[in-house]
C-alpha cells in the first residue's frame, strides 16, 4: 500500500511541535513541511507535505550528505535533530515557544512563533537555510519586505509574518523565498525565528541569549506539565509522550482537542481516503476525558468538558460529528485541486463533509463524558442539566433511525449495532445521573426506551450463526468498535457473547498483531484499501486486560507501541505489512487509546477496580 516518491518524507519521519493553538510538522531532513497559523485549521503557511513543489517549506540542514538522529528533549515537545556529516556534527533544536501565564504578562510575545536553534557541536559544518512560505494553501506567494535589523516582513490579509535570523539570509530574485548558507565551527550557535501576528503591530522576535532563555522556559513548561502525570504503570514513557501529544493538540483558548493537526494525509497511497482532521470529534469524548482525569490532568479535563458542552449547546439537541475549536459547524468540504497531495495522492480536502452526518453513538459518548465528569467533579451547572436532558429526549425520539455510524462511512445510513448500544448507554447514564440527583428526567420513559434498545441490539445486533455481535442489524460483518461494549458498560467482557465476539474479531480483523476497524473489503464508499487502525489495536489490548489475560495484554500493548515512530508518535493508521504510517498524523485518538489501554492494564494488574459503571436501571 505504501508508495515511494523521494520528494516526500515518510509520514513516520515527521515530528510535531506546537504551542497549544497551532502545530508544525518537522521532517528528519530539518524541513518544516506543514504549518497552519493562527490555529490548527487555518490555511497553511507551509504545505510541502501536500505538494513538494508548490507547498512551501522552511528547511535548515547541512549542505553535505548526513545521517540523522532525533529525539524530543526529555518530556517536552522540543525537538532536537542531530545531523552527522563527514566534517562535523550539527544540532537543530525546534520549538514553538510556550510559557506559564505569568510569562505572558512580563513581556511582549508574538502571537505565534517557530524558534529554531542551529549549533555546530563538532568539527565544521556548512548549514543551508531555505524559508519559502506559500500562504493560503500555496495560493499566495509572499514578497518579503526587507526591513534591515527588524527582519523580513510579509503583510497579508491583516496578518504579518516576520523572519529574523542570525544566519544571514537573502531574498530570492522574486523576493518570495529567503536563502542562506553559513559555515559553522564547533561552538557556533545561531537562532532563526518565524513569527505571526495579526490585527496589531507585530512583536519582533529576539534572538541570541533571549531566544536561549525562551527555549529554556519552553523546556521547563513542558517538563513541569509532564511531571504532573500521575501514571506509574507499564510503558510510562509511551503514556507520557501520548499525554504531551494530546496537550500539544489542545486548543488552549477553548479546551478543544483536534483529532490531528493535518489534512489529507492519505489512508491509502494513491487512494481517495483523504480527510481533514483539524477539527474536534465528539467520538471518544468520554474516553478522552477519562484519559485526562486518570493521568491527573484535571484542568485539561475540565476545559475539555466545558468545550464539549459549549460546542454542542449551539446545535443541541442535534449533535454534529465534529466541531471546530470554537464550536462552529460550518465545516463544508472543498477540494484544493492545485495541490497534488502527499505522494501524489489527491484530493487535498479542507473542511469535512462528514460534519452533518448522523452518528447516533455521539449521544452516548457525550452523555458518558458528562457522567464521567460528574463522578469526578460532583457538580453540574443548570444549563448542563437542561442540555443533557434535551439530548436524552433526542435519543428516545431517534434511536430507531439508521445512521452513518462511528466510522463516518460514505455508503449511506444503516442500523449500526454500536450506535444503538451507545443510545442505550446514553439513557442508562442519564438514569444514573437522575438517581444521583443531578438531572431530572422522565425516568419511566427512559427506562422503557432503554429496554427496547437493548432488546433490539440483543436480537438484531448479534449473529447467532457467527456467534458474534455484528456491525449492522441483521448483518454478518464485524466491526472493531464492538470491542468498546464492555468499556462503556453495555456488556461484561467475560460474557459468552463478548468472548466469542472477541474471538471472531481476531479471526477476521487482525493482521500482523494490528486490527482493521472493519473488514478491508467492506463497502464504505471507497475502492482503495486502507491500513490497520491504531486505535482499534489499543481497544483490543484493553479487552485482553478486561478478560484477565494480563500477560497477553501487556505483551500485545508492547507490540503495538513498537509500531510508533522513533519519537513515540502514531498516525491514524498503520500499514500492517510494512509498518509505515497512513492517514493524518499525529492522531489524538490513537494516543488516547494507548493511554487508556495502559491504564486499564495497570489497574487490572494491581487488582484495583476498573472504571465503575452504574448498575443498569
Amino acid at each position: 500500500m505504501s508508495g515511494t516518491d523521494d520528494r516526500y518524507v515518510p509520514i513516520e519521519d515527521y515530528a510535531v511541535i506546537g504551542d497549544c493553538a497551532s502545530a508544525a510538522l518537522v521532517g528528519t531532513d530539518g524541513s518544516i513541511d506543514w504549518l497552519c497559523w493562527p490555529r490548527f485549521d487555518s490555511p497553511s503557511v507551509f504545505a510541502a507535505l501536500l505538494d513538494a513543489e508548490r507547498g512551501g517549506h522552511f528547511q535548515v540542514r547541512p549542505s553535505r550528505e548526513y545521517s540523522v538522529e532525533r529525539r524530543y528533549m526529555g518530556d517536552t515537545n522540543v525537538l532536537e535533530t542531530t545531523f552527522t556529516t563527514d566534517t562535523g556534527v550539527l544540532r537543530l533544536t525546534d520549538l514553538m515557544p510556550v510559557g506559564p501565564p505569568e510569562a505572558y504578562r512580563r513581556e511582549l510575545w508574538p502571537t505565534h512563533e517557530i524558534l529554531r536553534r542551529v549549533e555546530c557541536v563538532e568539527g565544521t559544518v556548512t548549514v543551508q537555510v531555505v524559508c519559502e512560505p506559500r500562504l493560503e494553501y500555496a495560493q499566495l506567494d509572499p514578497s518579503f519586505d526587507d526591513r534591515g535589523p527588524h527582519g523580513f516582513f510579509y503583510n497579508y490579509d491583516g496578518a504579518v509574518l516576520v523572519v529574523r535570523s542570525e544566519v544571514p539570509l537573502a531574498p530570492s530574485s522574486g523576493q518570495s523565498a529567503l536563502h542562506g548558507d553559513q559555515t559553522l565551527r564547533a561552538g557556533d550557535r545561531h537562532f532563526l525565528s518565524l513569527t505571526y501576528d495579526d490585527e496589531a503591530p507585530a512583536v519582533l522576535p529576539l534572538l541570541g541569549d533571549h531566544a536561549q532563555r525562551k527555549l529554556a522556559r519552553t523546556i521547563n513548561y513542558w517538563r513541569d506539565w509532564a511531571a504532573q502525570c500521575e501514571y506509574e504503570g507499564p510503558y510510562r514513557d509511551a503514556v507520557v509522550r501520548s499525554a504531551l501529544t494530546l496537550k500539544l493538540m489542545t486548543f488552549a483558548p477553548s479546551g478543544a482537542i483536534v483529532a490531528a493537526p493535518t489534512t489529507s494525509l492519505p489512508e491509502a497511497i494513491g487512494g481517495e481516503r483523504n480527510w481533514d482532521y483539524r477539527y474536534c470529534w465528539l467520538r471518544d469524548a468520554a474516553l478522552t476525558l477519562r484519559a485526562l482525569y486518570e493521568l491527573g490532568y484535571e484542568d485539561e479535563g475540565r476545559a475539555f468538558f466545558s468545550w464539549l458542552l459549549h460546542a454542542t449547546r449551539l446545535t443541541a439537541p442535534d449533535l454534529h460529528v465534529m466541531y471546530d475549536v470554537h464550536g462552529n459547524t460550518h465545516l463544508s468540504e472543498r477540494t484544493l485541486s492545485h495541490l497534488e497531495g502527499y505522494r501524489a495522492s489527491p484530493p487535498v480536502r479542507v473542511g469535512n463533509g462528514a460534519h452533518d452526518q448522523l452518528q447516533l453513538d455521539t449521544y452516548g459518548e457525550l452523555i458518558s463524558a458528562a457522567y464521567e465528569f460528574v463522578q469526578r467533579e460532583h457538580a453540574l451547572d443548570d444549563w448542563h442539566r437542561r442540555l443533557l436532558v434535551s439530548l436524552g429526549n433526542e435519543v428516545c425520539a431517534r434511536w430507531e433511525e439508521p445512521d452513518e455510524g462511528i466510522w463516518e462511512v460514505r455508503s449511506g445510513r444503516h442500523h449500526h449495532t454500536f450506535s444503538k448500544a451507545m443510545c442505550w448507554v446514553a439513557l442508562e447514564r442519564l438514569l444514573a445521573l437522575h438517581e444521583e440527583g443531578y438531572v431530572s428526567i422522565p425516568a419511566d420513559r427512559y427506562r422503557r426506551e432503554a429496554t427496547k434498545i437493548r432488546a433490539a441490539v440483543d436480537e438484531h445486533g448479534y449473529n447467532e450463526e457467527k456467534e458474534s455481535y455484528v456491525a449492522t442489524f441483521g448483518g454478518d460483518r464485524l466491526d472493531a468498535s464492538l470491542l468498546l461494549l464492555p468499556t462503556y458498560g453495555y456488556e461484561e467482557a467475560t460474557s459468552p457473547r463478548m468472548k466469542s465476539t472477541f474471538a471472531r474479531i481476531h479471526e477476521e480483523l487482525a493482521q500482523n498483531g494490528l486490527l482493521h476497524r472493519y473488514p478491508p473489503d467492506t463497502n464504505d464508499g471507497f475502492t482503495s484499501e486502507e491500513g490497520a487502525f491504531g486505535l482499534c489495536s489499543f481497544w483490543d489490548e484493553e479487552m485482553f486486560a478486561r478478560l484477565g489475560r494480563l500477560d497477553e495484554a501487556r505483551e500485545k500493548l508492547g507490540e503495538t507501541i513498537g509500531y510508533a515512530n522513533d519519537l513515540g508518535l502514531f498516525a491514524e493508521e498503520i500499514d500492517p505489512d510494512t509498518g509505515t504510517f497512513l492517514g493524518n498524523f499525529p492522531q489524538a485518538f490513537t494516543h488516547v487509546g494507548l493511554i487508556n489501554a495502559a491504564i486499564t492494564i495497570s489497574k487490572a494488574e494491581e487488582a484495583t477496580p476498573l472504571y465503575q459503571h452504574p448498575e443498569p436501571q
Binding site: A159, R164, D198, P201
Partner: protein, 169 residues
C-alpha cells in the same frame, strides 16, 4: 468674537465619545477584515504594560479619553470660527489624520517605551514593530483607512456639536 466660555464642554465630550466610538469601530472593522494592523488601543496600552489583554483594555480607555479631549479642541476651533458644519469638521479630520500619520507615527518609536527603534534591531524592552512613514508598515491600506476614520470623526463633530447649544446657536 465669542469667548471660549461659550464652549459647550458637555456637548463636545458627548459627541467626542460618539465620534471616537465610531472611529474605533471603523479601525477595528478594518483590522478584522484584514485591511490594516493599525490598533490604536494596543499601541497606546502597550506603553503601560506588556500584558496583551491589559494593554488592550487600558489602551481602549485611553483612546476614548484622547478622542473626547480632541473633541474639545475641535469645539474650540468651531467656537473661534463661530461656525461648525460637517465639511469643516471633515477638513479638521483630514488635518488631524495627516498629522497623526506623517508626524506622530514616524516619531512613535522615540515616544513609545516598548517600540523598537527604526534604526536598530529589537531589544528585550523594545520589541513592538514601528509603524513607519504613514504607518505603511501596518499594511498598505492603513493611511487611507486612518484618514477616513479621522474624517468621519471630524464630520460627526461638525454635524452634532452645534446641536448641544453654546456660542454657535
Amino acid at each position: 468674537m465669542t469667548s471660549v466660555f461659550a464652549l459647550n464642554v458637555g456637548s463636545a465630550l458627548l459627541w467626542g465619545l460618539f465620534a471616537t466610538g465610531l472611529l474605533t469601530l471603523l479601525m477595528s472593522a478594518s483590522q478584522g477584515l484584514g485591511w490594516s494592523r493599525m490598533s490604536f488601543p494596543y499601541m497606546i496600552g502597550s506603553m503601560f504594560t506588556s500584558h496583551r489583554g491589559r494593554a488592550m483594555g487600558i489602551g481602549f480607555g485611553a483612546h476614548l479619553a484622547f478622542g473626547m479631549s480632541f473633541a474639545v479642541l475641535y469645539a474650540l476651533v468651531f467656537e473661534s470660527w463661530q461656525w461648525a458644519t460637517w465639511w469643516l469638521g471633515g477638513l479638521l479630520g483630514v488635518f488631524h489624520g495627516l498629522f497623526l500619520l506623517a508626524v506622530l507615527m514616524p516619531m512613535l518609536p522615540d515616544l513609545h517605551p516598548r517600540m523598537a527603534s527604526t534604526h536598530h534591531g529589537p531589544t528585550p524592552t523594545r520589541q513592538l514593530e514601528p509603524p513607519g512613514f504613514l504607518a505603511l508598515n501596518y499594511g498598505r491600506s492603513t493611511p487611507v483607512l486612518t484618514l477616513v476614520g479621522h474624517v468621519v470623526y471630524g464630520v460627526l463633530l461638525g454635524l452634532f456639536y452645534p446641536l448641544g447649544g453654546g456660542g454657535l446657536l
